[in-house]
């Protein structure tokens, strides 16, 4: 143990090691996107927001049919009503966000230098509620998913831009999210990357595993298996349970950081949410 500390101290003191150990989101992004583009040369970068539908003709055909009457339409309309409704104090969500909350989803999750933490769009909505004397909404489904569906819809087609600022706490959050993404966990010993990088596009039973690239772009989404809307954090919880790992709390640092890393890996892709999945 003592030796480990000594080794760590030596590493930290070596300038070269320090430079190579500092998180480098820009080169990570290049390697991450490059990996998928090289592995699936027929799929253009922007098409990754289609997730499993790039890999299964039958699912894609079904999806096209479903999208004639999008299953998230009801949530979208409801979300708009909720978003535009006045709080008891006369204010509304719009006052809490730049541009009145319209067309900003592509910039979330965002690092908040004041608290030193990552803020997802859902957590920002809850902050707004608390600031206006209201209680927090559940971050996984229900009214929150509907509000996020509306806000995300106003960003549809806009380019995801989650740039990690050169701030030690932001970089630490990014790095923590990255480590979470690649760490195997649960009794079944899977990492997020096991399924969504290594086995991307393959079949787990009848389901195509969506590539991690572009995966955040369609959230929140209507999942037929759920029968309703769900946010990205709902999916995190589901994946954790599937590998037999106790999920984190929806507003935990672990999930904030994971969303931060994962979304930043889709920088440059268009927002495609709300979405629909099997």
């Amino acid at each position: 143990m003592k030796f480990a500390y000594l080794a760590l101290a030596l590493l930290v003191m070596t300038p070269g090691a320090l430079a190579s150990n500092k998180p480098d989101p820009a080169s990570d992004l290049k390697a991450f996107q490059g990996y998928f583009l090289k592995r699936f040369p027929k799929i253009p970068l922007a098409a990754y927001v289609n997730g499993p539908y790039d890999f299964s003709k039958s699912e894609r055909a079904q999806w096209k049919q479903i999208m004639e009457f999008p299953p998230y339409q009801f949530a979208l309309d409801h979300g708009r009503k909720l978003f535009e409704a006045k709080f008891p104090n006369g204010k509304s969500y719009a006052a809490c966000f730049p541009h009145g909350g319209i067309g900003i989803a592509q910039n979330y999750p965002m690092f908040d230098p004041k608290t030193g933490r990552v803020v997802t769009l859902g957590i920002a909505v809850n902050r707004c509620r608390v600031a206006n004397g209201l209680g927090k909404l559940k971050l996984t489904t229900g009214p929150m998913a509907d509000i996020l569906a509306y806000m995300t819809d106003t960003s549809r087609g806009k380019t995801i831009d989650v740039t990690v600022p050169d701030n030690p706490k932001a970089l630490a959050a990014y790095q923590a999210g990255k480590q979470y993404f690649y760490s195997r966990r649960g009794q079944l010993n899977f990492s997020c990357a096991s399924c969504h990088v290594q086995a991307a596009g393959m079949h787990l039973r009848g389901n195509v595993l969506a590539p991690a690239l572009g995966i955040t772009a369609s959230f929140p989404l209507y999942r037929s298996k759920w029968g309703n809307m769900g946010t990205l954090v709902r999916r995190f919880i589901g994946c954790n349970k599937k590998v037999r790992s106790v999920p984190d709390k929806p507003d935990s640092a672990a999930y904030r950081d994971l969303a931060y890393f994962l979304t930043s890996m889709s920088d440059g892709l268009p927002i495609a949410g709300p979405g629909a999945r099997p």
Partner: protein
């Protein structure tokens, strides 16, 4: 700990290798196709699997594929120890299946 695991592995092998009964094979089939147990068909195609996945290799003519039962046991028990990049869960090491259950799965797969 490791030697204990090895002893356990070795201890179970000859017994199961003696003769696979119909009951063993049927138990193995059940384990291989039950989500909460082996869930083999989530990733592997094999005859009789329903909506099988394709993450792992197809299990066909398994006796030729893995003639050595000890190696087959090791693959199911702890494939990451043999191949760190594998996606196959360490069914024995992580106590997902018991040694008896692993042997039943082997008996079943050897009929494929």
């Amino acid at each position: 700990m490791k030697s204990l695991a090895i002893a356990l592995v070795l201890g179970f092998l000859p017994v199961a290798a003696l003769a696979a009964t119909k009951a063993d094979i049927e138990a193995g089939r059940k384990i291989a196709t039950t989500t909460s147990l082996g869930n083999c068909d989530a990733c592997h195609m094999f005859a009789g699997a329903d909506e099988a996945g394709n993450i792992g290799p197809e299990l066909k003519d398994v006796k030729t594929m893995i003639p050595d039962r000890k190696i087959f046991y090791a693959i199911i028990y702890d494939e990451p120890a043999r191949n760190p990049r594998t996606l196959m869960p360490p069914f024995g090491r992580n106590a997902i299946l018991t040694p008896k259950q692993i042997n039943d799965v082997i008996d079943f797969m050897y009929t494929k």
